[in-house]
């Protein structure tokens, strides 16, 4: 049985004049201990997916329909009390910017201990000991002293390590990490990712890593979802997606990676921008930026089709693959 099973998740935002759809029929599964990457440009709905999984959308956003089954229970239908029991305990989240995630007026110790005591019957001292152990696990030097410090006394990298330690406090089944390194210095980004990977592997914790960086996804995850304008357009094993992407958008993302470019050559960017939620194009949302677009793409939303190991939402995928095979044969 899978740990997490999302079916037809649709999230809407009630704006002043209209209601816009931010997520449209998202479905995917996650096995126990599996690491999944969600990639896409900003505005694709990655973070909204992450927050929906914890039923933590704040107004004006709301879950319109769909199911999020976590350990067999639907998160969408949970009572507030059940949700509190879930959050931070069985499912933990790592936020984007460690500089604003921790409460500035509470010490690190207070923020760690309150999390433990919210979910388990522990004495303050027992909670403190667990906190110290977890801080050691994320390689924080002299953890006893850190507990007495306020967030502003620590560097960004240090804070994100602490947030990872908080995520691990109650040995959750799943950690959702929303771009955990974008706000950090480039030099420590790799360290944090390595730490996260190591801890997930050693503790058998499932991970959903939300990022725009395909390079990170290829190192960290086993499976990948590619999102565009509120839909999943391609999903499958990470290796396949990186090596043999089927959707033109994914191909564009891969080609835009710096590693794919000969030094001195321009980065191959996908032309155009991601559409806003209020003005999603008809048919395949990607068609205005796609060089293979046909009339069918412009008018009809593509179904998800199984293609090899991948699930792809593209009308043209078979023809493109056929063209490619022919070229290979000729070569």
């Amino acid at each position: 049985m899978s740990l997490l099973s999302v079916r037809d998740l649709t999230v809407k935002f009630a704006m002043r004049d209209q209601t816009v759809t931010a997520l449209n029929g998202i479905s995917f599964d996650l096995a126990k201990g599996e690491r999944l990457g969600i990639v896409g440009e900003s505005g694709a709905g990655k973070s909204i997916t992450g927050f929906s999984l914890m039923n933590l959308l704040s107004r004006p956003g709301y879950i319109d329909s769909g199911k999020i089954e976590f350990e067999g229970e639907d998160v969408v239908k949970m009572s507030d009390k059940r949700l509190r029991d879930l959050r931070g305990n069985r499912m933990a989240m790592i936020f984007q910017d460690p500089m604003v995630t921790l409460n500035p007026v509470l010490t690190i110790g207070q923020q760690m201990i309150e999390t433990l005591m919210a979910h388990r019957k522990l004495s303050r001292e027992e909670a403190r000991q667990i906190a110290i152990v977890k801080l050691r696990e994320v390689y924080i030097p002299s953890p006893e002293e850190r507990l007495e410090q306020y967030p502003h006394e620590l560097s960004g990298g240090m804070r994100q390590r602490i947030i990872i330690a908080i995520a691990l406090l109650l040995d959750p089944q799943l950690i959702i990490a929303d771009e955990p390194t974008t706000a950090l210095d480039v030099t420590i980004q790799a360290d944090i990712m390595e730490l996260l990977l190591e801890l997930c592997q050693s503790n058998q914790v499932g991970l959903i890593l939300i990022t725009h960086d395909l390079g990170v996804v290829s190192q960290m995850t086993e499976r990948t979802l590619v999102m565009y304008a509120g839909r999943i357009i391609e999903q499958g094993r990470t290796r396949e997606i990186i090596n043999d992407p089927q959707h033109p958008y994914t191909q564009g993302l891969i080609n835009a990676l710096p590693q794919q470019t000969v030094p001195g050559q321009r980065l191959k960017q996908i032309p155009g921008n991601m559409p806003g939620l209020a003005s999603i194009p008809t048919g395949c949302a990607f068609h205005p930026r796609c060089k293979y677009a046909t009339d069918l793409c412009r008018s009809q939303i593509p179904e998800v089709v199984q293609y090899g190991d991948l699930k792809v939402a593209c009308h043209e995928v078979q023809r493109l693959q056929a063209d490619e095979d022919r070229q290979e044969v000729r070569a």
């Binding site: 959050r87 931070g88 989240m93 936020f95 409460n103 007026v105 309150e114 999390t115 306020y150 502003h152």
Partner: protein, 326 residues
């Protein structure tokens, strides 16, 4: 820490210096000390001699230094009307004013925090809308009008509460007379305290609500929810502490403002405090008393502001006091 403290104290001293200059200028230009001393039927020669004796012909600097020196020793001149040292007159009236401010402050803190927090947490309920509606009406009614209205309703129409004076007061520690020791004292201080609180209270409710709503939108509150923390803990531990920090700064300034509003409340309720005394002194052109009031009130402002700044630095962990001195 020390450098920060020193910096604040130096600024406070600089402000007091300016206030003393203003006070000195008022003293030199308002009224004629000779006339108060000897009347008008004295020859020009004697006048000149008296001016010399009183040092009124000395240079500006000498006169100011003498004024400041005396002031530092607690000598702010003698009231023309009371024929007593001006500082003594004011210190006798000070308890009445401070107790009024104290009563109003209690009312403001007691009501504004719960109301502000409630309207921030539940902004869409009918009760919140009523509170917010009343608050804007509240800030639109001048203090003196609230005071008059209260007298009209509670004293004239219903006769529940007395309309003027302090009632029975009790001496505690030396010259301090308190209202809080007798039932009669309590009934007398209720209306003036509420009247004084009436304009600040809605202001604070709105301020706390606005700050709290902003804090509730913050990432760290969202993160606390993601950790499964109970709502009451999120509101009162995570959010309220961050809400109150900016409120403290504003509050410090408002304590000063409240001293100004005591003049209005004391006038309406004939409350025998500093403000009431000050207006009388103005009508009598009692220059030493006016000057003494200016200096005492200036001193209260400077001290409260400095103390509030220091408290802010102490309670806000993100303000590194040691570094702020640099």
């Amino acid at each position: 820490m020390f450098a920060y403290l020193a910096k604040r104290v130096i600024q406070a001293i600089a402000v007091m210096f300016v206030i003393s200059l203003i006070a000195f200028a008022i003293q030199g230009n308002l009224g004629d000390p000779l006339r108060e001393l000897v009347g008008q039927s004295v020859s020009e020669e004697v006048r000149q001699q008296l001016r010399d004796e009183l040092g009124l012909n000395d240079s500006f600097v000498t006169q100011y230094l003498r004024f400041a020196g005396n002031a530092l020793q607690g000598d702010l001149g003698t009231s023309y009307f009371f024929k007593e040292p001006a500082l003594d007159v004011i210190l006798k009236k000070l308890p009445a004013t401070l107790e009024l401010v104290f009563g109003a402050t209690l009312i403001i803190i007691g009501f504004s925090v719960p109301l502000g927090v409630y309207t921030a947490i539940k902004p869409d309920t009918i009760i919140s809308r009523i509170i917010m509606g009343l608050s804007i009406v509240g800030i639109s009614i001048p203090v003196f009008l609230t005071a008059i209205l209260m007298i009209f309703v509670f004293s004239v129409e219903y006769g529940w509460l007395p309309s003027y004076g302090r009632g029975d007061t009790v001496h505690v520690w030396g010259y301090w007379e308190t209202n809080f020791a007798t039932a009669d004292g309590w009934t007398h201080i209720i209306l003036p305290s509420f009247a004084l609180a009436s304009i600040m209270l809605p202001l604070f409710v709105r301020l706390i609500r606005a700050e709290m709503m902003e804090v509730l939108q913050s990432e760290y509150v969202k993160y606390a929810k993601a950790k499964g923390i109970k709502p009451w803990r999120i509101y009162f531990v995570h959010a309220l502490k961050n809400t109150l920090l900016p409120v403290i700064t504003v509050g410090g300034v408002q304590i000063g403002t409240m001293v100004a509003y005591t003049i209005l409340t004391e006038t309406v309720f004939q409350w025998p405090g500093m403000g009431f005394m000050f207006l009388e002194a103005v009508n009598r052109v009692d220059t030493p008393l006016i000057v003494a009031y200016l200096i005492v009130v200036g001193f209260i402002f400077v001290v409260t502001n400095t103390v509030v700044d220091l408290i802010y630095g102490l309670v806000n962990p993100t303000v590194n006091i040691a570094r702020m001195g640099a």
